[in-house]
Symmetry: C2
Subunit: 228 residues, 2 copies
């Protein structure tokens, strides 16, 4: 009858629309204040405050006080991974929004998934890396090949340094819009940072979408050609 962990608690936390919107907003990876999250959730600050307290009690969020602001972030990347998996599941089952907003196309093209690149461009990047043999796809898992390591070095990614971190180097992450895998893990994070540092793309203030500059887009597409 009552077996295993209590999934109802977590489900209930995600089940409220305001909280779901708050969590979705935090998937952008940026720390946001309570007021910003209230706007994201479509509720007043009082209401948002209680929601944030509940999410924090449920260990989904952590807060960092800074002056009179309180910045909230997802508790760790396992939460982000977890939420993205729900989104993938939801998208695959037709649990889509009634009204796809104007920002939808931009989101499908390129967006941030916790700390790495997702959307069409994210999928394209991983496909391209696999096609050229820089990354080996082994069942569910991914691994950088030797040739891939030197290739990434040319782009400006120090793979051995990334390996030393406790976090997995490569992980595949199911993309809710494309329904295919994109690259997560410390390498995925490093690649996105790389693009942002080079000025190829920038994060938008309000949304999770990533906007490429014309030149950046050209470079990106040249670097990661489609095999077909």
């Amino acid at each position: 009858m009552k077996e295993g962990p209590d999934i109802a608690q977590i489900g209930a936390l995600i089940g409220d629309p305001a909280r779901a919107n708050i969590l979705t907003a935090l998937m952008g990876g940026k720390a946001l204040t309570a007021t910003e999250l209230a706007a994201a959730g479509g509720v007043t600050v009082q209401t948002a405050s209680t929601h944030l307290a509940k999410l924090e009690a449920g260990n989904l969020l952590v807060q960092r006080k800074q002056g009179r602001h309180r910045y909230f972030t997802l508790a760790d990347d396992s939460v982000g991974k977890f939420l993205e998996s729900i989104m993938g599941f939801a998208a695959g089952r037709g649990h889509l929004r009634h009204k796809p907003g104007p920002k939808e196309p931009a989101l499908r093209k390129a967006r941030i998934c916790y700390d790495h690149l997702a959307g069409d461009y994210g999928v394209r990047m991983l496909d391209s890396l696999i096609a050229r043999g820089a990354i080996d796809a082994f069942g569910d898992g991914l691994a950088v090949t030797e040739s891939g390591e030197s290739e990434l070095k040319r782009i400006g990614i120090d793979v051995p340094a990334l390996k030393s971190s406790r976090r997995p180097l490569c992980r595949s992450c199911l993309d809710w819009s494309e329904r295919r895998a994109h690259l997560a893990g410390s390498l995925g994070k490093a690649l996105l940072s790389n693009f942002l540092d080079k000025g190829w793309a920038r994060r938008t203030a309000q949304s999770r979408s990533v906007v490429f500059s014309p030149e950046g887009e050209r470079q990106f597409l040249a670097l990661f050609p489609t095999s077909r």
Copy 2:
């Protein structure tokens, strides 16, 4: 503001205790009737009926009419995979039941995770297969080696036949009680079926736990020794 798929709908479905218990019961992999699920959820049949209708509308369940019975199962193995991931997350965050029931130890030792073996024994089996080189662990992914293929053949598993199915041969599945990976995928399913067919173990009627016979346990432990 409103970006991406609607995770709130799914969260709400899982968020009700009765529904969560129903889903947990169905993780056993067996098709269950509405009446049985009512008992699992701790509610009357009327209430369970409305819950089941909602879960079906949310594409989490499918029903199969058979005479005057209606058998419910999880919609497909992606639902099982998804739910197990929530359980893993919940277990890791201390969202455990207040009262660990008397069946808990049995569940931790060996239980069914949708269609394959989980718990201590499930983890032990995968560890042992990896340690002897029958399965290669490659980042997140798993793959059967050539020597593993012939070894499994001796046990009675036809790996090439399993490969022909669309379903992945090996997948790692995070175990909520052990917090480590066990073997899922068509191979995981085949191994469990194999043990059941041989009479080494049997599924229990009410619970997800798997009970080994004394002789079956001896055989299993001999076949999958711990490396330490």
